[in-house]
Amino acid sequence: MFEAQEINAEHKDLIHDVAYDFYGQRMATCSSDQYVKVWDQNAEGKWILTSSWKAHSGSVWKVTWAHPEFGQVLATCSFDRTAAVWEEVVGETPGPSERGIRHWVRKTNLVDSRTSVTDVKFGPKSQGLQLATCSAEGIVRIYEAPDVMNLTQWTLQHEVPCKLPCSCISWNPSLSKNHPQMLAVGSDDANPINGGKVFIYEYSENSRRWIKLETLNSVLDPVHDIAFAPNLGRSFHILAVATKDVRIFNITPDNSDPSGVTKLDVQTVAQFDDHGCTVWRVCWNVIGTVLASSGDDGTVRMFKMNYVNSWKSVAIMKGDGSLAPNDGSKNLSNALTSISQTARYIKLGSIITPKEREASWH
């Protein structure tokens, strides 16, 4: 059985992105209404809105948390051509909660892009505090905060031109210090003549710049999202791509070339057209064993690798208007009106009797 807790995010328009902190105890949401909101889970499991602010002067596309080692830090990017870094500041005077009055302060505004900034992601923490953005004009920018105690100082380290409008970016989260840093960038350019829409870059310590290692020429359709899986000590990296279908690639680096240039062996290991249409999002669970995707068909689909190393579809989720609770009970899920109430989960209906066919996606 599955169950769900509804949190009315109080945005006036559709939510573009939801990000959870490292522990899954805080949630940040962003929307076309130009607001960013931060929610905290209390001891009873209820989600309380703790901050809400107008973050940009355009739609906020993405929101993402920095590693908690750097404190409570968020980054956002927007149609207004900027990306911003926010830090939560605890006031000196004790507030209603034990942590005092808190608010989010804009630490920096990154204004280098001349067009909409479509994605923003913090780099792996082993490299300090780094931030990658990509934009509709087709430029990936890497910023760095040299002093992690002072987040007002960010330097633009690299500008990497991709030639095509960029829609999404993903850092390779490999925990190994032996791997050079790697980034994958996707483009939602619609023209197949412009070639592959996924680019893989690696940081070269020798030349101190980002080098394009590979263009995935098998992906000619627009790419809307891209995600590296956690590495788990494998010799290869796994990359999921949301395009007209869900693709999973195994990418094996070969560093044996004496010139020091890494070569990549790229293999398509799965291709799912289950959505039957454009795929919007691809997202790995914490340990990279389950991939979830969403698409134009209005469903979330989950894929899992089985023990003979082949990927299989394991579950589907979709919105159902007929089951929506009436307005009376909706008020119950409003975090502000019922502060003392504990978390309420509702059992979810499903189409196949769950007892016989329980899909496990843990």
Partner: protein, 643 residues
């Protein structure tokens, strides 16, 4: 394919109309929200749903029945057995069948104990909903017990010569205990005319079906007509029934011959109408000789095909070999007319009898106990060598990978629970391939509710040599303390985290605090810094400065003076702090004993003159000049006397 997959419905009109997107919520949950993709080059305008009051996020999670408090004992005890098994295997390379059997029985007794406590709870529970829920768990765990027991017989406790019937009879007696229970009750009562009880004959037939011939005979002797010729004859026949025993030295064909003789003898007695006087006795004897009509008459006694199977085998194929079971199982299913009505439990049992282990494991993963069963059974079967033999038949199949795959899922699920995460860790420890990497991802995500839990996480990290995780937890704890204004605890955590930036930051806070209000905090901590002081220059300064304070308080002015000079000479004075050091010299310059030598005094004078235009010492400059001049004169006189 899609018919095989669960479609979960999110109760939201907006999700239904717009579409959905998602984010994983650590560790195992999903956040789902209404969403519409915009092209990177598209105009920025409100969506067609603006303004909406329905922009909700749905946190979807699996309802894990194993997290119910009533099943906590099952989790913990099976964890103990699991760990003992892995430990035994680590100690020695070979493992005997007997040991594996022992572990299998331990697991089964844990399931049995769980079923018993569920039964007790159901008796206690008041609400219908609770009863239904508990009944549901009982059904699940009863199936598990039944399957596990059969798998134990077929895969772990294999007897020589593939003889399987005695075990199968035991299995069916265990899971359909009512005949033996009835018989025991009736024999205990020891009353006359037992045959008047409605369950008398069904019990005798049931006992005969489970191969309990002696007890059946015992019951027959209690019949009021037990002394009549027909009864005596039946007793005589049953007493003569040949028993197949692999240890008797009798070959299968010799046994077969004996059995044939015995059946023919009874058949001739039936033909001679020896039992015709008594309908039930005749039925009994006809069953023994496999009379088709008689068997179809007693079919109603069987609840399931797998209850029929051992009974049929007992009379029709007493020397059945284990590898023939599948064929006979299908025969019994046909006999019961269940070909198209097999339930999940039936499918699994049939797969086991057909020795299709992969199918068994695939099917038991669909049971609703969140992988407990599949994980533990596969691990045991793997270590008994039963899974490895399949590798040569199935392409790409790795037995080790299969069982680790299950352990990863089970361990990860437990890691997501606030008090079972350590149990989860102990499973992930036994996934050689990816276990440590998964722990590396999950352990730092265990929410730290309090310092005690932080210590626990750190211990687990250090145990696995994941020192960077231990340091990370310390650092996060340190940052939390900073935010709550608890600088002492913050410094303790920061020192443990070996993060010199954080340590310096905190040492600065201590010193600035002192500069502002003249009080040093957490002096106990500073006193006991020891070698940890070396983790940052700023902390060394703080530590040494505190040492100076302590000496001064203890009136060891000579020592204090020496230390102060050392500090002034050092290159580690923070910019905001030098003037305080300078002011500290005044009382020592003015003390009765000479503390600073002429050289020391010159040093102080130089230092003072270098900074004479600084605002912070401007009004103390005269005092300082006077004090240094006086001390210099005293020191020079004293030093010249010495020479």
């Amino acid at each position: 394919m899609e018919t095989d997959i669960n479609t979960i419905l999110i109760p939201s009109k907006l999700c239904n109309r717009a579409g959905v997107s998602l984010a994983w919520k650590p560790c195992n949950d999903l956040g789902i929200f209404a969403y519409e993709r915009k092209h990177s080059g598209a105009q920025d305008k409100p969506s067609q749903y603006y303004p909406t009051s329905e922009a909700s996020v749905f946190h979807v999670r699996q309802d894990v029945i194993l997290f119910r408090p009533i099943l906590r004992k099952l989790i913990n005890e099976s964890n103990g057995t699991f760990l003992n098994l892995q430990e035994l295997l680590a100690r020695k390379s070979t493992n005997t069948q007997e040991e594996m059997l022992n572990f299998s029985r331990q697991y089964r007794s844990i399931i049995r104990a769980c079923l018993e406590s569920l039964q007790e709870d159901i008796a206690r529970s008041k609400s219908e909903a609770d009863k239904d829920e508990l009944q549901n768990y009982i059904t699940i765990f009863y199936s598990i017990e039944c399957i596990w027991h059969l798998c134990e017989i077929l895969f772990i406790d294999s007897t020589p010569g593939n003889v399987v019937l005695p075990h199968l009879l035991e299995w069916v007696r265990f899971h359909f205990p009512k005949y033996e229970r009835n018989a025991a009750e009736m024999l205990c009562e020891n009353q006359e005319e037992l045959e008047m009880k409605p369950e008398y004959w069904p019990t005798i037939i049931g006992l005969m079906m489970q191969g309990r011939v002696r007890i059946a005979r015992g019951l027959l002797k209690q019949h009021s007509a037990a002394d009549t010729r027909a009864f005596l004859l039946v007793d005589q026949c049953l007493k003569a029934m040949p028993q197949f025993d692999v240890y008797s030295g009798l070959s299968a064909s010799e046994f077969h011959l004996q059995w044939q003789h015995w059946v023919m003898d009874i058949q001739s007695k039936i033909d001679a109408k020896s039992f015709a006087s008594h309908k039930n006795l005749e039925l009994l004897m006809k069953i023994v000789v496999k009379d088709e009509l008689a068997w179809s008459e007693i079919k109603k006694h069987f609840e399931t095909w797998y209850e029929l199977l051992p009974a049929w085998l007992f009379y029709a194929e007493p020397s059945v070999k284990s590898y023939e079971l599948g064929t006979f199982a299908k025969y019994c299913i046909r006999q019961m007319g269940l070909e198209n009505k097999l339930k999940h439990l039936d499918t699994v049992l049939l797969a086991a009898m057909e020795y299709d282990l992969l199918e068994v494991i695939k099917e038991i993963q669909k049971m609703s106990e969140n992988g407990w069963f599949a994980t533990h059974l596969a691990n045991l079967l793997y270590h008994s060598g039963q899974l490895t033999v399949l590798e040569k038949d199935v392409d790409n199949f790795s037995a080790k990978a299969l069982q680790e795959f299950l352990i990863v899922d089970y361990g990860t699920m437990l890691m997501g629970h606030k008090s079972l995460w350590q149990v989860g860790l102990s499973y992930l420890d036994h996934c050689s391939e990816s276990g440590i990497h998964i722990i590396e991802l999950l352990l730092p995500r265990v929410p730290v509710d309090n310092e005690y839990k932080a210590q626990k996480i750190i211990r687990e990290a250090v145990k696995r040599e994941l020192h960077h995780i231990a340091q990370f937890v310390c650092k996060v704890q340190g940052m939390k303390c900073v935010k709550r204004g608890r600088l002492g605890s913050a410094l303790t955590w920061a020192l443990k985290s070996q993060d010199s930036t954080l340590v310096s930051l905190l040492a600065n806070r201590f010193l600035k605090d002192y500069a502002a209000n003249g009080k040093l905090r957490n002096t106990d901590l500073l006193f006991n810094l020891g070698p940890t002081m070396l983790s940052s220059d700023r902390l060394i300064f703080l530590g040494k400065y505190y040492e100076f304070h302590k000496l001064y308080q203890d009136r060891q002015f000579q020592e204090a003076g020496k230390l102060l000079i050392k500090l002034l000479e050092s290159k580690i004075i923070p910019k905001y702090f030098w003037y305080i050091l300078l002011l500290e010299t005044i009382p020592l310059l003015e003390s009765e004993d000479i503390i600073f030598s002429s050289n020391d005094t010159y040093m102080i004078i130089n230092f003072m003159e270098e900074n004479q235009f600084d605002e912070r010492i401007k009004d103390k400059l005269d005092v300082l000049r006077l004090a240094t001049a006086r001390n210099l004169s005293r020191a020079v006189l004293y030093e010249s006397e010495l020479n």
